[in-house]
């Protein structure tokens, strides 16, 4: 079983966590000014990275908090976990500004 480092509780078994999809996707400040295509892109389109991927996780059966994890999608190794609001150490390839 994988061990995941919760920023609040420390190293804990994978079974306690839930994946929350790609991280750092900001909700558009003014949704009404977006075209349907832009809104659909925000809602549904996600990166499909081979390599370092920044994603949200929730310590669902623990402290209950969301946090971010930088995971290598080829090896499944989680390089780093960090709290909500913090930035990843290395931006992944293809990241949007």
């Amino acid at each position: 079983m994988l061990l995941i480092n919760c920023p609040y509780c420390g190293s804990r078994p994978e079974a306690e966590f839930a994946n929350g999809g790609q991280a750092h996707i900001a909700r558009p400040a003014d949704p009404m000014s977006l075209t349907d295509d832009e809104w659909a892109a925000y809602l549904y389109m996600r990166d499909n990275i081979k390599g370092l991927h920044h994603e949200r996780w929730r310590h669902a059966n623990g402290c209950g908090r969301f946090f971010n994890a930088s995971r290598d999608t080829t090896t499944d190794v989680i390089k780093r976990t960090y709290r909500m609001g913090e930035r990843p150490e290395a931006e992944h390839q293809g990241a949007k500004p």
Partner: protein, 189 residues
């Protein structure tokens, strides 16, 4: 009006008699009912809550503090469980919410949501590890530690009150399942 004390029935009461009587060194017992309040708020509010309750809440992750029958369990970075064994939830909640009137925080009475099991004996950790993936050695899970975790298919709050005594707080609908799971496990180990 029906008194809440009459309406309250422990989900585990039918379990005790159905348990195996094999010579396991680990015992299971039903913990007494308690007033249970979930608190969420920032530092100032949690300090006020602790001062009123008479137990200083742990700001360290995954720790609980107890004074007599009252305890405060850390659940998350801004979330604590206040527990008062054998006390009336309505009274405890009323006192707490009056004391927190000036604070920005949330307080929810969850007294009737869960029931408690004590797992005790020299192999209590091993029994729990049949369904809980945490490292329950004294070094990784010392006395005074508490955390929400999983056991089999159920989510629960696990705490270690003594070296050989764990307390499990589990939602009522999962309680019989968890009891049977532990009962089976203690007869395997």
């Amino acid at each position: 009006m029906l008194s809440p004390a009459i309406m309250r029935s422990n989900a585990l009461s039918p379990m005790q008699s159905s348990s195996t009587t094999a010579a396991s060194t680990t015992t299971l017992s039903i913990l007494p009912d308690a007033a249970k309040l979930v608190f969420r708020g920032k530092t100032e509010a949690i300090e006020a809550a602790g001062a009123h309750f008479g137990v200083k809440p742990s700001l360290e992750a995954c720790r609980f503090a107890a004074v007599g029958g009252r305890s405060v369990h850390w659940l998350g970075p801004d979330e604590w469980l206040f527990q008062a064994v054998n006390e009336d939830p309505i009274e405890v909640f009323g006192g707490m919410s009056a004391a927190l009137q000036a604070q920005a925080c949330s307080l929810v009475d969850v007294s009737h949501r869960s029931d408690g099991i004590a797992v005790a004996g020299p192999t209590a950790a091993l029994v729990l590890n049949h369904g809980c993936p945490l490292d329950l050695s004294l070094k990784a899970f010392p006395v005074g530690m508490c955390t929400r975790t999983v056991l089999g298919k159920a989510s629960l709050l696990l705490s270690r009150s003594e070296e050989q005594v764990f307390h499990v707080d589990v939602w009522r609908s999962f309680a019989p399942y968890v009891w049977q799971f532990l009962d089976e496990a203690r007869n395997l180990s």
